[in-house]
């Protein structure tokens, strides 16, 4: 099965709608609740990163009985130093983003913790693609 959801950069009132749809889907499929939580927390962090740091993006979700593969590709400023961005506490979030309760520099480390495989590809001034794979059993 495959699904695609659009993510709007800068629009915090919609941030999380894509992750919320995936959560509903996984519930319908009777995936274990603890596993659902792990998956959607990672998705939500990555979705908010597009809203907070990029211009627009697409969440592509593919799953079968064994795994869920989510690819979030955005058009945006990109990440110049991925190793640095992965460090806890590193953040370039704007004051407006911080006012919303984000910008602690905890998102990427938390994504890594909550999925089985994480791949980040990025090109400065083009965009970022975050791929998260979680095994379902």
């Amino acid at each position: 099965m495959e699904f695609n959801y659009e993510i709007e950069g800068g629009n915090f009132s919609h941030a999380g709608t894509a992750s919320s749809e995936v959560k509903k889907l996984l519930k319908q499929l009777n995936v274990n609740p603890a596993l659902i939580k792990r998956i959607v927390v990672a998705l939500y962090e990555a979705e908010v990163n597009v809203v907070a740091h990029a211009y627009e993006g697409v969440m592509n979700v593919v799953f079968d009985n064994n795994a869920i593969v989510v690819k979030i590709a955005d058009k945006g400023p990109g990440i110049p130093d991925i190793n640095l961005a992965m460090q806890e506490g590193f953040s370039t979030a704007s004051p407006a983003v911080r006012e919303m309760g984000f910008g602690a520099g905890m998102g990427l480390p938390n994504i890594k913790k909550n999925c089985d495989e994480l791949k980040i590809e990025s090109e400065v001034n083009k965009g970022t693609t975050v791929t998260m794979i979680t095994h379902l059993n």
Binding site: F12, S13, S19, S20, K23, K37, G101, F102, M106
Partner: protein, 114 residues
Amino acid sequence: MTAEDVIKLTEAVQVCTGNQSHNEIKYAVAADLMSDILTVNTDELLLITGMANLQVIRTAEMSDISTVLFVRGKNITEEMCELAKENGITLLQSKMSMFNVCGILYKAGLKPVF
């Protein structure tokens, strides 16, 4: 304890009723940073926060948190209520400060998550 007990102890009002308002609450986390909340992996958890926006409700949804207590009488919007209802999340509002609410609930037996 339950949401009912939290209401009594912190002189809170229930602004929005989720479908799990009788659920047992054993732990609490107090935070205004969404990413902080998203690192917590505990069930039967109360979220205490001074941040009032739609993302708090989204964060609770993703983290399977069924009760949120807003301190300092922070305004809970219609939109927040709707999203909370959709997800069965109970929203409480207390005029007390974060420090006061935490002290009272800690004394009453709610446990920290770490």
